[in-house]
Symmetry: C2
Subunit: 144 residues, 2 copies
DNA sequence: TAATTAAAGGATAAAAAGGTATTAATATAT
DNA sequence: ATATATTAATACCTTTTTATCCTTTAATTA
């Protein structure tokens, strides 16, 4: 569904949100370890997220990544778009450029429904929401 | 959503179904041209589909690909599984192996609903269905 | 049976995604 | 000021996906 890069990004965002309370910031090492992702690869992804202003960081001792209040309002859709692009919004399942409401592919309308639900879910869930769910103890970000 | 290979495979299956009426079989060249896919790549994909018994072929002059009555009953899900595997059925959006009903990730239940709809659509639509839709003149497999 | 046609199969190459290592820059504590 | 911890930036490597080419095999037909 999403790229590996995108999966790592979402998990990293949620993990940081959950653990960087107050003054505490989260290191790449910790993110990688706790989200079960390759360290150096995560480092690269975090830079990307930072450039796109989805997350913030501070260098040096006690540095690391954190989310400010605004960042916590990012939705999963925001992350997916930042990493994988907006294909979910625009592309036909069969990859047909000419597939539209007027000239639909055989599965166009059914697929539009599926995508609508998917997008709704992606846009509804903010990082803060995920955070709260995990804090409730009923949801997890477990690796294995 | 699906791999390029898978998109080509679905388009090829539908195109052959639609055009190999009676004794007529469809060549790789024609499939590639009409579905806007790279010829030699399509050739590989067709071999794959054939090995998995989703399509049939005959060599030599007037040879090519065709679908028998049974083949026409293949669903889009069958093609997706043959080419991309059954990840749609089994994998968590965040790639978490431990994500289950008992230990769900923050978006598990919402995503299960989305996947259920997607799978329903994939399993409902047979190649014959797609074929009939296109013949009705209201649906298309247009390239551009 | 020779010539022709079309798929099958194997080998390779180009591009994209995924992953690693190294060095530079920066902030903090002492 | 200096040592140190930590991200930033960059360059490189590996694997997977996508795409191409060439040779072989099978079927048809003249």
């Amino acid at each position: 569904m999403f790229s590996k890069t995108c999966e790592y990004a979402i998990k990293a965002m949620i993990y940081v949100a959950q653990n960087s309370t107050g003054e505490k910031r989260i290191s790449i090492k910790e993110i990688a370890r706790e989200t079960d992702a390759p360290e150096y690869f995560v480092a690269k992804i975090m830079q990307d997220l930072r450039k796109r202003k989805l997350i913030h960081s501070i260098k040096g001792p006690n540095g690391g990544f954190y989310l400010n209040d605004h960042d916590l309002k990012s939705t999963i859709a925001d992350i997916v778009i930042a990493i994988d692009g907006n294909g979910i919004y625009t592309e036909c399942v069969l990859g047909l450029k000419a597939c539209t409401e007027k000239t639909p592919c055989p599965v166009h309308f059914e697929f539009v429904e599926v995508k609508k639900n998917l997008i709704k879910m992606l846009e509804k869930n903010t990082i803060r929401d995920c955070n709260e769910k995990i804090e409730s103890g009923k949801f997890f970000l477990k690796k294995e």
